[in-house]
Amino acid sequence: MKQSRPNPGFGLGLRKEHYESVLRDRPAVDWFEVLTENYLVPGGKPLYYLERVRERYPLAMHGVSLSIGGCDPLDYRYLRELRQLAVRIEPLWISDHLCWTGVNGRNLHDLMPLPYTAEALAHVVERVAAVQDFLGRQILLENVSSYVTYRDSDMPEWDFLTAVAEQADCRILLDINNIYVNGFNHGFDPRRYIDAIPAGRVWQFHVAGHQDHGTHIIDTHDAPVIPAVWDLYAYAWAKLGPVAAMIERDDHIPPLAELMSELAFMRERVEMRVAAEGAGS
């Protein structure tokens, strides 16, 4: 069940707007991340394009429906479909979010934050074990952005995330933008967060853009990455790398060429960092 950490390089989220140009132009993207739920459908275009892209690129499966922190029983119908899709496309890995998405049979279709308590920790750890058993592989859990601070929380987010990963023996998908957003919204230093994360647990980075509302920042994935997030990414890479990284863009999707130049910038940031370290040692 254990694999050593692969480093497929620099990726992008696969978007239907880009299916045709990905197949036609074979852009120099090392791998693509696909939104799992988009492909848990009976047939038609989504699966057709998924299989064509898979013939040419490695894929990671990124889900939003696991509700690993939710208090409803795990949805085994969903997990069975997830497992079937994984058999079909042999993903690099399967990830979802450290959050809950609904209770009492409801789905809010949002990544709702968990309180950082011993109770929530024990609950998540138990469920991750069940999911990993069922899937026969370790999963990655991603830190989410949040806009509320619960009175119940009695540890910082980074301790909660680290404890989940260590106790459940799962991997971390570290979203650099979400750390930045939460640092702003909850008033902590994002570097302190990154310093607390155990390097070997992090298998993937997300980098994304967001909307700054002045009093708070909303993680919208609809804009280019800002310089402060690039700086934080370089910092995280130095502490935790080498780690597979990708740019998330879920809305206001630009032509692929524009994302390719953002991806090139991402590569350069890392290469500059590696070169600077080489010169320093």
Binding site: E37, G44, C71, V103, N107, H109, L114, Y147, V148, H216
Partner: protein
């Protein structure tokens, strides 16, 4: 507050704006607890309204942004999602419109929603390998009367009272929509051919023969139906013509015997 109670309270806030969760949230510099909570309530409605806009792009354009958003919020508040995927979220909009004052004033809206939803269903319906003409031609004449047909999963049969397909086509092509027109209900067909959704009106006779074929009736019975339904000289030739059209449209994916 334990984890379950906290999730219940937060969800009650997001779905129904019940304020209980507010006590559990800290106010921080920048924004109060209630301002922070509102981000979730607002994002929930915006996100699901966006899902509906993607499922019903022509209905949204036909109604206009304001009226569609209003409809979306009413639907969202009346129909919290219980599916893991947003793919299914708009499935109740046609029914919702039939019962809503807006839809009762303008019954074509529910039909338009129903038409778009059927296109969505066809879009990602299960794949199937269509029967080709040669397979039919290879059958001995003696096996025809007992022949049954299995149709592709994306096929949907329904009736329309309004000119919603004309309206759909105009808006889809960026043209102004024609005026609403109503008349006797007419049969329609939506299906998927390879990767593309298709639709066409069905003549009454073809519709009833297709319905019989889909319910598992053999070819001999289809010929009888044709015989009863119209002044056809050669009912077998007419039934065969229907079948050939269905095969050309890739509707048939399996042949079976009695």
């Amino acid at each position: 507050m334990n984890l379950q109670a906290l999730q219940n309270a937060f969800q009650d806030y997001v779905i129904a704006l019940k304020p209980g969760i507010g006590m559990r949230i800290r106010s921080l510099p920048g924004a109060t607890a209630s301002q922070r909570l509102e981000i979730y309530a607002e994002a929930y409605r915006l996100r699901l309204a966006e899902v509906l806009r993607n499922h019903f792009p022509v209905l949204a354009a036909y109604l206009g942004e304001h009226a569609f958003d209003e409809l979306a919020v009413r639907y969202i508040d009346a129909n919290p999602s219980s599916q893991y995927s947003v793919r299914w979220f708009g499935g109740g909009l046609e029914q919702f419109l039939r019962a809503a004052p807006l839809g009762q004033d303008r019954p074509l809206l529910a039909e338009l929603a129903g038409f778009e939803w059927r296109l969505n269903r066809a879009f990602d319906a299960a794949d199937s390998a269509p029967i080709v003409r040669a397979a039919l031609a290879a059958l001995p004449a003696s096996s025809w009367p007992a022949l049954r047909f299995v149709f592709q999963p994306g096929l949907q049969r329904f009736k329309l009272n309004w000119n919603v397909v004309e309206i759909w086509k105009a808006i889809d092509a960026g043209q102004p929509a024609p005026a609403p027109e109503t008349g006797p209900a007419k049969p329609w067909l939506v299906w998927r051919q390879d990767l593309n959704c298709r639709f066409r009106p069905l003549p009454e006779l073809e519709a009833s023969v297709l319905d019989a074929a889909r319910s598992g009736m053999p070819f001999a019975y289809l010929c009888e139906l044709v015989d009863r339904g119209a002044e056809q000289d050669d009912s077998a030739a007419q039934a065969t013509a229907f079948l050939q059209r269905w095969i050309a449209d890739k509707l048939v994916c399996q042949l079976g015997k009695l």
